[in-house]
């Protein structure tokens, strides 16, 4: 692709999804968009960009979706789930003993492996959760990955990365080469399409927010804005979980790291004033609808 094409795509992605590609990510664009171009009957990225400028707006939507879809797998990075089992749930079981309810938000739920991994952790706790209401909300920008997440159907490859064999046998049903998460696990996760750039305050307050490996795509200003807004939606004694390579340090006072627990954060001591979503270029057509 030509430098102007790359710049066009960079700006479009920034405006529509906040995705902030650095100057050298041509390979990422090629690997994600060449298949899409071919599906649209076009020979390459140059022609795809041309069509995007003149053609139907749903092509733009497809491009954004192709670029924002992340690879994920069950129990990705392991450590966050150790935090969940060893610190988050034991503390919340105490702190919420009167209320007996816990709200968990997977803010980049993607194809479902993260929320379903949490659901399996909860199931493994069995007796301790009798009488409790645990809500897991999974949101994502991409409608396509949400559909896959809702179906809970995974390939033989996908169920072999990160998932211990005992959990596969216990919580999945096999049909041919495909594996589906059991109905009672699926029932534990609600799905909703959501763009993190838009207002999400209507979702309410959460005890645990997983927001892993999605903020890395955004620029500093956007990250700070989102942390501020997340800080408004989390209980004072709640938890935020980020990807292992991410941090809040230098970006916000809304959260502070938990010592010796990589990737785990708690609300900062200072509660910030209500923050508005960062302004997205007015000229850009809106794509995802933040559902209420």
């Amino acid at each position: 692709m030509t430098p102007p094409d790359y710049e066009y795509l960079r700006k479009l992605l920034k405006d529509h999804s906040g995705l902030d590609l650095s100057a050298d990510k041509q390979y990422l664009i090629e690997s994600r968009l060449l298949p899409l171009a071919r599906k649209a009957g076009l020979p390459g990225i140059v022609e795809l960009v041309q069509k995007m400028k003149t053609g139907p707006s749903n092509l733009i939507a497809q491009v954004v979706e192709a670029m924002t879809t992340n690879e994920t797998f069950f129990f990705r990075d392991k450590i966050p789930f150790d935090h969940f089992r060893e610190k988050i749930m034991p503390e919340l079981l105490q702190a919420r003993a009167n209320r007996k309810s816990i709200r968990i938000w997977c803010a980049a739920g993607s194809t479902g492996q993260e929320p379903y991994s949490l659901a399996m952790c909860l199931k493994e706790m069995s007796g301790a959760l009798n009488g409790w209401r645990i809500e897991i909300l999974a949101t994502d920008l991409s409608q396509e990955v949400l559909e896959k997440s809702k179906s809970g159907i995974y390939s033989q490859f996908e169920v072999q990365r990160g998932l211990p064999i005992q959990l596969l046998v216990k919580y999945f049903k096999q049909t041919g080469e495909l594996w589906q998460v059991s109905a009672d696990i699926r029932a534990m996760v609600q799905h909703r399409q959501l763009n993190l750039l838009h207002d999400f305050s209507q979702l309410g307050t959460f005890d645990v927010i997983f927001c892993r490996n999605v903020l890395i795509y955004f620029d500093q200003e956007t990250k700070t804005n989102i942390f501020g807004r997340l800080g408004r939606m989390i209980e004072a004694d709640g938890f935020l979980v980020l990807g292992a390579a991410e941090t809040v340090v230098g970006l916000t006072e809304a959260f502070k790291p938990v010592p010796d627990r990589r990737g785990l954060y708690r609300p900062g001591d200072v509660r910030l004033a209500p923050a508005k979503p960062a302004s997205v270029a007015a000229a850009a057509p809106r794509l995802a609808v933040a559902s209420g």
Binding site: I79, P164, V169, Y217
Partner: protein
């Protein structure tokens, strides 16, 4: 350096597995059936066994039973690696003492993930974008 015994009647599969597992810093020994695999274990117990199911002379299931009955036979982490992908096979394998189970086809990500599950390798730190 840890040793991994790769047991499969297909020399192609053994070669692919060898390449993957050597890259994970294991010393690899090959065996083409359960009986030859047992002989290797009698000489020296490997830390890991990647085990096919269907093989002539002695299949993987029989090998596993024999291995676990040997002195020190509880030590190796045994990961099945087979085209048998039904839950009944998986359950039988786990009951017989397998630690993990790979359904073929496999790639290096799956082998690495399963070896991590059983503690043969440390989890790698996630990369940044």
């Amino acid at each position: 350096m840890k040793t991994c015994l790769v047991v499969d009647d297909s020399s192609v599969v053994r070669k692919i597995a060898r390449r993957i597992i050597e890259e994970m810093n294991f010393h690899v020994i090959e065996a083409e059936d359960g009986e030859k695999a047992l002989e290797v274990c009698k000489r020296a117990m490997p830390e890991a066994v990647l085990l096919d199911w269907n093989m002539p002379v002695m299949d993987g299931y029989e090998f596993l039973g024999n291995l676990r009955r040997m002195p020190g036979g509880d030590v190796p982490r045994v990961v099945f690696c087979t085209t048998e992908n039904g839950t009944d096979h998986i359950s039988r394998a786990l009951s017989a003492g397998a630690n993990e189970y790979i359904m073929k086809p496999f790639d290096k990500d799956i082998v690495a993930a399963k070896f991590q599950e059983v503690g043969l390798v440390e989890a790698a730190l996630p990369e940044t974008i």
